[in-house]
Structures are given as structure tokens and as C-alpha cells.
Amino acid sequence: MSETFGRYGGQYVPEALMPALEELTDAYRRYVLDNEDGFMDEFRERLRTFGGRPTPLQHAEKLSERYGTSVYLKREDLVHGGAHKLNNALGQVLLAKYMGKERIIAETGAGQHGTATAMAAAHLDMPCEIYMGRTDTNRQRPNVFRMRLNDAEVTPVDVGRGTLKEAISQALRDWAHSVETTHYVIGSVVGPHPFPQLVDEFQAVISAEIREQLHEQTGTLPNSVVACAGGGSNAMGTFHHFVDEESVDLYAIEAGGSSLDVDEERGVAPNSASLTTGTEGVLHGARTRVLQDSDGQIMESHSVSAGLDYAGVGPELAHLVETGRVTPESVDDRTALAGFHRLSQAEGIIPALETAHAVGWLEEATPEQLGEQVVLTVSGRGDKDLETVLEETATHDVPAAPEMDVFSTTGGDRNE
């Protein structure tokens, strides 16, 4: 088993955590790869009965008509909790239980990973603490409440801009103090080895089902597979079983934010497109592509979607982009919002803003890129984003949006 993906990956963490990573690597081999004590059997069974898998692969008729191709939607928004995040959270919390850990910590950006972890921890009876940037607790209040409902502690992080980057740093700090009893459920294919492989393995169920379901429906492989990418767990899970199929084009859609330019002076990138605009660096335990200034200080990222708002990306995805296997594309906030409204109107599916980036890209893609059959993963549902969409649609003059005047609030409180 390789510890790196080309020149990406590795283990850049404090010494105090190294033995825990060794222990986790050992558990990953035994339980996940070798199914020791029937771990994977139990995981699959719980995904089915608690998680609601398999999720459908739906032929999207209106989108197919619009783009002149067959568009299939992998409905991860129908997983329990409303996002693909449960696949990984359930896997890791169960693994922690097999390892004899007593406590779960996690970080979250949009709140979907925190929610999934809180649900998995409640389901498996483990105490759970979630770190979340202060900015994100404010823009994702329904998810904070859902975590609390599942009896998780939610600890706001006030450092920096108070988003996912700061929440991950804080979770790593907690882990360095509590590592003997605690498992850190990292939320994406990021972090030190073995996390990128472990999370990929738990999310690979998405592409396994896509292959099987598309084969049942059409007898073929898709021409292209599209997934949004922040840290990259949805993308890696969607791509996993297609990486070796050279005939299938893989597109990772990043958040282009308001611009792909970078304000070096202020240390701010108005996007989260680390595959497109990042450079090689070391962040949160791994060598990967990172939004950073010339000194190596990590930049504040931006996206209308809290779940994509992260300055790094998974090392395996960075490697697949570098070798040309995966094509990164970026979509700006406005196009993502248009994608949000289009999917809601055309198919009756209100997607997460993360997913909306991938849907937005369909509009910009060429017929050659899409091919005759395209699969797009709906990574999550959009309930959590309604407040954001309400505010942002008004400021971005979004095509495909409904008449928004009726929702404008003059002097009223939108948060009510």
C-alpha cells in the first residue's frame, strides 16, 4: 500500500499523532481491506438499513433534452442525512468502535459532515464533539441544530475567518491532546495517510453503484463523469471505479468563487479552486495543492458554498489532475447559483450549493466533453443552503432564478 500519490500525500503531523496514524493504518488494513471480524459486512449492512443505500441513478429527462445528451443523476442527496457524507462518517465511527476508541471528534464546513458524524455517533452510541468555524455556524444554522439534536457538542472556532480551514486545524489540535482515547473522523479525502485512502474507500460505494446501475439501465459505461470537488471526497467516491477506465472522462468541478485572481497583499483568494489555481504545499498533514502566498502562508478561500470553501484538496485528486486523468474545471458563484435554480426547476431536485457547481458546469461544457452519456453526482440536498441562496440570488442577478422580489425583506429579519 502506497503512502503517497506521486509526490502528493504523506504524513506531516506532530509526533504525538504519529502512533495514532500507525494504529489507524493497521486498522484500515485489517478491518477495511481484509474485512477482519466482518467489519465491511457490518458497514455495508448499516449503510443499507440505517443509511438508505443504494441510492438511485436517475435519468434526468429535462437536462438530457437541454444538453442533447443522456444525463444521469446519482442521488446521494437521498442518503440519510441528505448527503454523501454519511458513507464516510458511518464507516469511520464504526471503525473507531472496532478500534476501541471512546470518543469521536470531527470538523465541518457546511455542516453536512458534522451532521453525518453526529448521526453516526448517535446511531453507534459514541460521544461526539464537532468543530465548526464561527462564520459557518452562522451561515449553516439548521445543520448546527441538527448536530445538537443528535446530542453532539458543537464548538465554534473563532480563529481566522472561521471557516473549514480553521475548524480542521482546531480538530487536529484537539486530537493531539486526546489521541489515546479519541478518533478524529476527518470529513474528506484530505489529511495525513491513511485518511485519504480510508475516506476514498468508504466513498467508493458511490461509483460502485453508478457502474452497476448504469450497466443495468443501458449496458454501457458513461462517456463522462462529473462531480463537484472541495476537499474531494464526493469526487473521489464518484471517480473511484472509473479511474482505470480510460474511455471515461472525469471532471472535478471546483468553486471559482467571484474570481480566479488572487489578492497576494491581503492573502485572500476569492475562490476555492486549489486544483486550478493552487500550488504544491503542505497543509493539514499532507502535501497537496494549496491556496497560498509566495511565503507559504495559507490563504483565506471563498465560495458561495461553505462545503467547498477550503484552501486545500485531497492529495490523490491532486495527483490524478497532475497526471491528466482528471480534468479540473471551475465554476463561479453566479453560475453555481444558476445551476441551483436550474436543477430545482427542471428536475424537482433542490441540490446542495456544492452540487450546484457541477450542474452549473453542464451549461459551460462542450458537447464533446459531455459525450452521449454523462453521470453527475448530486452530492447532497440543498435545504441547508436556502438562506444563502435567498440572499445571494438577489445580489448576483442569476439566470434561471424565479422572480425574487416577493422574497425581498425590507427591514424584516430573514433569519426568523
Binding site: G10, A16, S169, L172, H177, V179, V282, G296, Q297, I298
Partner: protein, 277 residues
């Protein structure tokens, strides 16, 4: 291999090794603060070069890093800082690997080490760089006579200890406990355990994490440590000075007094390393 200046600083008595974040809260005041620690008896000084994601630091040093970055600290300014300092003790740079890596070239981290050595840095501590990932930096450090100091944690297994000690030079940073706060007895128990495990190593063992008084410093050296590392307790004094709007001189005096208290604790309880070995 000849003994480094850093290792030599542990010879006569257990060493007092203070830490401050360079540039906290400003370049000029921070120079005064580091010089005050030298007057107060520092034998080796650790200087933090701030990184925006300090995953190994507690809240006190995290805030110091924010203040320093806001006042414009960069790797280049850090080297100027070291060149400006008027102190006569070995200096250790404590920073995160991404800054070293970005300063480097296609061949690796050598340009950072070269510049650091030229500025007067004697050693490096990189808390997010475990032995497994350290070979390129180790090679560059060897080429420029810079010590590379590794941290031994309470969780470090016996299997990890041998390669870790083989890669270390200067001193071994013994992390006394996992948390940033905790009972004092906890510190001495863990310390004795950690120090026992290091028997047979040629390098001095400096114990850090959670030491804040002269009395604690004395207990740690009485338990057999070759030195004590104090960070947060000193950074707290800088933070208080900043928040209470004290003059640079007032804060410098407080730091010097704290350094004297800690040094006195060591002198009262410590013995020369030659006798301790």
C-alpha cells in the same frame, strides 16, 4: 561529530530554553523581549517563525502567531530579526514545514537552511515534520551545520524512539504531556517516565509543555532533565503587555524577571551535565 553550540549550552547546568514568537506583537518590541530573556539567563532561545495554520500550538501561542503575522512577519523578515538580535546564545527556529518548503527550490529545503544558518540560526524544530518525512531537511541541516531537533511525545512508541533519536541533534525536545493544561504531579510523573526512556542517548533532554514557575522548573530538573523549555508562560506576559497597553520596557522587565525566576529554580535543583550523565 563535534558537539554543537546548542548541545554545549547544556553542559554546565541544566539549560533554560525560553520560546517567543518572533515579531509578537511587533518586530521592534519583540527584539527587546528576546534580549530581555537572554539577560534573564536563557541558555538557548527558541524563536517562532509564524505559520498561518499552527496545528501543534495551544491558544496562547496561536494568538501570538496571529499578532506577529498581522504586524507583517515573513520568513525574510524573520531572518532580518535574527540578524538584528544582540544576544550571545544559540538560537533555534521553530516553524512549520510549508514555510521551509516554499522557501526551498526544486531540489528541496536547502535554501531555507542556508539562509537560516547565514542569519545565525543554530537549530530547527519543525513540529509537523515527523522523522519519516524529514530526510531532505536532515540532509540540508547536516550540510550547513544546523541542528534538527525532534520532539518525543508521551505517545511515542519504543519502536519509534530509536530512529527518532538517531535523527535528532542539538537536544531532544521531551513533550511532558499531551494536554496544554493539567496537574503538576502529572508533569513530573510523565517526565520521569520519558527521561528514563531516553537513557543511553548522547543528547541532552529538554522538557517542555506546561512549565510556568521556578518551582516547577526545579522539579523538572530534579527529576533528571537536562533543560526546561518554557513557551506559553512567557508568551502570556507578552500578551498581557499588549492587551494592557504596557510600554515595551515594562513588558521586557517582566519577561526578564520571569526568566530569572525560572533560571533560579534550575540552579537551585540542577547539577552539571557531566555529573548527571
Amino acid at each position: 561529530m563535534s558537539e554543537s553550540d546548542i548541545t554545549a549550552a547544556f553542559e554546565d547546568r541544566p539549560a533554560f530554553v525560553p520560546y517567543l514568537t518572533a515579531g509578537d506583537p511587533t518586530f521592534e518590541s519583540s527584539i527587546e523581549y528576546v534580549e530581555a530573556l537572554a539577560r534573564g539567563g536563557a541558555d538557548v532561545i527558541e524563536l517562532g517563525l509564524p505559520f498561518s495554520e499552527p496545528i501543534a500550538e495551544g491558544p496562547t501561542i496561536q494568538q501570538a502567531i496571529v499578532r506577529s503575522l498581522e504586524s507583517g512577519m515573513t520568513p525574510e523578515r524573520f531572518f532580518e530579526f535574527v540578524e538584528t538580535l544582540g544576544v550571545d546564545v544559540p538560537l533555534v527556529c521553530m516553524t512549520y514545514y510549508n514555510l521551509i518548503y516554499q522557501y526551498g527550490d526544486a531540489e528541496g529545503p536547502r535554501p531555507f537552511v542556508e539562509r537560516a544558518a547565514a542569519a545565525g540560526i543554530d537549530g530547527l524544530i519543525v513540529p509537523d515534520l515527523p522523522v519519516e518525512e524529514a530526510t531532505p531537511l536532515r540532509t540540508a541541516c547536516d550540510a550547513h551545520g544546523v541542528d534538527l531537533i525532534f520532539i518525543v511525545a508521551p505517545t511515542t512508541t519504543d519502536e519509534r524512539l530509536t530512529p527518532l533519536l538517531e535523527h535528532s541533534s542539538g537536544y531532544v525536545y521531551v513533550q511532558a504531556r499531551l494536554g496544554v493544561t493539567g496537574a503538576r504531579s502529572d508533569v513530573s510523573d510523565r517526565t520521569s517516565y520519558s527521561l528514563d526512556r531516553l537513557e543511553g542517548s548522547d543528547l541532552p533532554a529538554a522538557v517542555g509543555f506546561g512549565i510556568s514557575t521556578g518551582e516547577q522548573a526545579g522539579e523538572i530538573v530534579a527529576a533528571g532533565a537536562d533543560g526546561i523549555i518554557v513557551g506559553s508562560a512567557l508568551v502570556d506576559i507578552v500578551a498581557e503587555g499588549y492587551e494592557d497597553d504596557l510600554t515595551t520596557e515594562e513588558t521586557a522587565e517582566r519577561l526578564e524577571a520571569k526568566a530569572r525566576e525560572l533560571t533560579t529554580g534550575i540552579i537551585e535543583q540542577g547539577r552539571p551535565r557531566s555529573e548527571r550523565l
